[in-house]
Each structure stands twice: as C-alpha cells, then as structure tokens.
Point group: C2
Chain length 350, copies 2
C-alpha cells in the first residue's frame, strides 16, 4: 500500500511500525531467514555458529522481532494455540480450572477460550471455524454428547469433567460419585433419615452422576429422599432460595431434616432462605453442596461441601493434551481425580 521507495523508518517511531519480518532480521544480521528461524525458535543448538547466533539475537532485540504466528502456523501446519471450549464461564469453579490449564501450558502454548452463553455449546459451524484456526489441541469442558459428535477434530482433544461422555476420547474426570457417597454417608451418620435433593437443571453429565450416586448411597443407608423433595433449579442463589421458600413448609411436614445440593451455589440459596425463615442450621436443617467454592469457608454457617479439585482438573487435562500434542502416548487415557468431603458447621450437629 505504501510506495516502496518511501524511506525505511528503522525503529524511529514506536507507534505501529512496519511489521518486522524474519527477512528484515536476516538482512540486519547478515544471515539467511533459515538461520533466523532456527535461533528465534530455540532450535539453534549445534546448528548455528555462536557468532551468527549472537548476531541474530542482537538483531531480534534491536528490531523487536516476534515470530509471526500466522506464517509460522501455516508453515508448520498447526498453530501453538490451545483452545478451551466451555459452556459456563461465569463460575468461580471454572476460573480455577483455567488457572490450572494455564499453569500446565506455560509459555509454550497460547490459551484461548471459546465460550458461548450459559450452558450453550458452539454450533457446528462455529466449531469448524474454530478448527480452521488449526489449534495445537482442544480442551473441552463439560461437553454434551451432541457437541462431541459434530466435533470430529482432526487433532488432539482432551475432555474435562465429562463422565460417561465421549468414551473414546481422552478425558480427565473427578470422582463426584465417591464424593456423593461420602456425603450421603456423613448425613446418615449425623442421624438424618429424610433428606431433600436440589439438583441443577442443565443436563450436564456430572449432575446426573452426583444425584444417582447420592440417592443410591442414601437408600443403602436407610435414608429416604421422597419424590416431592427432589427438585431442580438453575445454578443460581436466587433460584435455589425461591425453590426452598416454596417447598420448605411441605418438606418440614414431611420430616425433612437435611438438604443436599448439586452445587454450592444452590446451597447458598438454601442457607439464605433458611436464615430468612429463622431456621437454625444445622439443628433444624442441615445443608451441604458440591464444589467447595472459596466462599463456602466463610459463609455463615460455613458450608459442608464435596471438594472438587478444580486446579488439578485443568492442570492434568492440559498435561495430557501436551503429551498428545507432542506425540507421546498417554499412560492412561481417562483419569479420575479424587474428591473429598469437607465437613463444616452447616451439617456438623455433634
């Protein structure tokens, strides 16, 4: 666009200078672009003389050269981007998952998130466009089967939090089942015999697993969860509070003494509304959740919760993906991380 005979402005203007290319670096250093590429990518060991190496480094520094991601990707056939596809971004749990992913990816890969509206997944068309960016790998959080079917990614994929979904793909899951059973056992030990269960309303696999395991273990320990005491709301404090406000009178009559929730967020809603009703917790009503969000330590009363290893989930998934990207075989294609029940004041009667 600019005329070619305009005087070359080296790095006089700090603002939006002409893009610095490997060719410019090469000329500046008096070497070929091949040498520049080797040095810039840290592949120079034993292949570039110390003198040239130093020259190239100096030129890179002076000109402020950064390897162009697009050119590099086209040439190598793949970018160094890892895309994390996730349906639920506004979740403190998810923020910690991301932190884990970033830690494992380090500086070698660029993490980008593709998110849609709450609970949604990208459409097939969106996914294809994502893949056309040639990501080095894909991380897919809490996917549904439909999404996985139309995914058919050509490269490495690792699922996170996808119990029972996409069985042929590598995945990192959490033992929510074990956590659910621990919780049921704990409530049984505290003497509860009739319990309510507040579920999530999305069809995410992990919720079904939490519920089924809880109900199963509860039944095995002589706890009843009457059909009228099984409800579901969106993952929202207010929605859970409203549901509890509407249900509590009947539940009380029915002899309910504890509420187990599919997420801590639901539990916060129960706590809030129980306080409004003047219920003493845990004496009149015990409350427990899943996730062990940070706030569960400071809520009043502190919330008993099944601790899910969010950071680890992200970290391990990213580690697996790296192995795949780097062509290594996975020792175990599907990992399941431990969970643990954290008992706090909201259920501790003793």
């Amino acid at each position: 666009m600019e005329s070619a005979d305009a005087p070359a402005t080296p790095h006089a203007r700090a603002v939006a200078p002409r893009r610095v290319t490997a060719a410019m670096v090469a000329e500046h250093a008096g070497v070929s672009t091949a040498t520049v590429s080797l040095v810039a990518n840290g592949k120079s060991a034993g292949r570039v003389s110390a003198a040239n190496e130093e020259r190239v480094r100096a030129a890179i520094r002076e000109l402020g050269y950064v390897v162009d991601g697009i050119g590099s990707s086209l040439s190598r056939g793949v970018s160094s981007t890892v895309i994390l596809v996730a349906p639920d971004i506004s979740n403190p749990f998810f923020a910690r998952v991301i932190a884990g992913v970033r830690a494992a990816l380090g500086n070698d890969y660029q993490l980008l998130l593709s998110v849609t509206d709450a609970g949604q997944f990208p459409s097939a068309a969106e996914t294809r466009r994502l893949l056309s960016l040639r990501p080095a790998g894909l991380l897919v959080d809490a996917p549904d089967e439909t999404f996985l079917e139309e995914l058919s990614a050509p490269g490495p994929v690792v699922l996170l939090d996808a119990p029972g979904v996409g069985d042929r793909l590598p995945a990192v899951n959490m033992d929510v089942e074990g956590g659910a059973r621990d919780l049921a056992a704990h409530l049984a030990a505290q003497g509860h015999r009739r319990i309510a269960y507040v579920d999530g309303i999305t069809g995410t696999a992990t919720f079904a697993l939490r519920r089924e395991a809880f109900l199963d273990e509860a039944a095995a320990r002589g706890i009843e969860v009457p059909p009228a005491a099984r409800v579901a709301t969106t993952i929202d404090v207010g929605a859970a509070a409203a549901e509890f406000a509407a249900s509590w009178a009947a539940w009380r009559r029915d002899g309910i003494t504890a509420v187990a929730c599919a997420t801590d967020t639901h539990a916060y809603g129960i706590l809030q509304e129980a306080r409004v009703k003047g219920l003493s917790i845990p004496c009149e009503l015990a409350v427990a959740g899943f996730d062990d969000l940070p706030y569960s330590q400071t809520s009043n009363p502190a919330l008993t919760s099944v601790r899910l290893p969010a950071d680890d989930l992200g970290r391990r998934a990213a580690e697996q993906l790296r192995r795949l990207i780097e062509g290594q075989a996975l020792e175990e294609a599907r990992l399941t991380l431990q969970t643990s029940l954290v008992v706090r004041a909201s259920t501790r009667r003793r």
Copy 2:
C-alpha cells in the same frame, strides 16, 4: 508425509479425513482456486457465472470444505479473530459483557478470550504473542495504564470500562459517577447522615471513580463517611462479611446507619453478616451496591444497586470495534453509557 501415490480417499472416512483445500474443491468443480475463493467468501456477485457458482457450491458441500483460517489470514494480512483481553473472568457481570460482544460480532468474527488469573493482565511477552496471531481487533476490559503502555497494538483497539485510562484510545465506559451520585442522593433522602463505604481492593479505575463520586455527592448532601468507615476488601462475599463482622461494633457506636459497597458482591457479604448479627435491614442498617447482578433481585432483602449495562457495554464496544476494523470513522471515539439506580428493599425505609 504420506506418499503422494496413496489412493485419494474422497469422503469415505468420516473420521479425520485429509484436510480439504481450495485446490481440491477447484479440481472437483472444474474451476480455478480463485473462483473457489470468491464463492467461499461470498464475493462472487457479478464476478462468477451462475453455472460455476453452483458447481463450486456443490463441491464445497460435497467435500465439506471450510476456508482455512491460517492460509486466509496470511494472505489477507489479518485474521477474522477478535481477542477480548480481560483480567477478571469469574464475574457474572463479565459473562453478560461477553454475551453483548458476541451478539455484536455475529458470525463475521471469531471471539476468543485471553484471560489470566484474577486481576492480572497478560505480560508484555504474552501480549506480543497474542498480537502475532494477527487479530482483526482487540477488546480490552478494565485495563490498567501499564498494560496499555506496553500494548501498542498495530490494529483496531477498543477499551471497555476504562474510565480515565488510555485517553487516546476509543473506549466505551459507563457513567458510574452518575450512578454513585444517585445512590448518595437516595441515601440522603432516606435520612442517613453517617455512612460506611466498602471498596474493592484492586486499583481498577472504575472503583476509584465510584468512590470519589459517592463521597463527593455524600459530602454535598451533608452525609459523613468517617475515615474509620472506609474499608476495602477483595471482591468476595466472605471477605466483605469478615470485614463487616470486624467493623460493625465500632461503626454502630459511630452512628453509621448505611453501608454503600463498590460491588454487589461486597453487599452480599454485608447482608449475610448483618443477618447473622440479627440486624434488621433496612431499619437498623441500609445496604446498597453496584452492578445490579441478577441475584440482587432475589436476595433477601432485595438489594438496592446501581444498574450497570453489561450487555450494552459489550455490544457497543464490539460495534465500535467493527467500525474500526471495517475502516469506518467513529462518530464518537469515547462513549459513556447511562447507569441507573435501582431502589429495592435493602434501603427503602419509607
């Protein structure tokens, strides 16, 4: 890598087939890749015969061709990716901002998020790598001056929620100042004369603005906010609750009758702890926040809050960015969106 004489498998295998290129489509349709490019990019009007157009479309369909983002970007000099850089992902407010951005971007641009740990911004090196992906444009949420200084993006940039920061860049802000003044006026009208202020602890510009405007308007209306009643915590329910628990006795002695918070999240903490202490809200203590998160409608009592137009913030910023990307001039480089005070039970004494 594979030997060239391997039999071409057309679309027999659904799983990870060979990447379909424009050249393959061209051959299939009996045209040149130039024609394929024109059709695939919707630039065929008046430049491709109806017959060829149809042939190409058929071939695209049959082969499942998708324009390669990398090749396309390299050729055009820019990708169709918009990168949203944000320091605070786990925030319900931010989820709505993203929804607005997505709505405005539509299918023309691919939105990718670059996030770091809470409150952090990408390092200069990370940013350079981001830019090497040649994004069509950059959206930067709640930036600090340092980040903007080292940014120096070559392409279009629009800031969101960056009051008083990066004055030379286009931005979309919200009139938090007006909202803060409305809130102070409302509390004055309700008869409060001594108020506490709970601030955020990050140095984000919007918080400083909220606080200064509130304090200024409060002073103008004869309200005192004693130094001992100005505190700051992280944006966390538990942290705010703990702060209130520690401060309330002194505040009460000091005659404090209301607490204004920099975010609704802070306010939730105050509400929680006030309930624990058995305070009647709003009679003994009025509480208000900023953001008007969804939960503020259903909290008990419902929370008075300064409503910030999150969707609009995202939408308008993305619209501005699109104009910039498409080479149009901005009518107004810096927009300020209206805010409004939503009065609810937590402050309505009347």
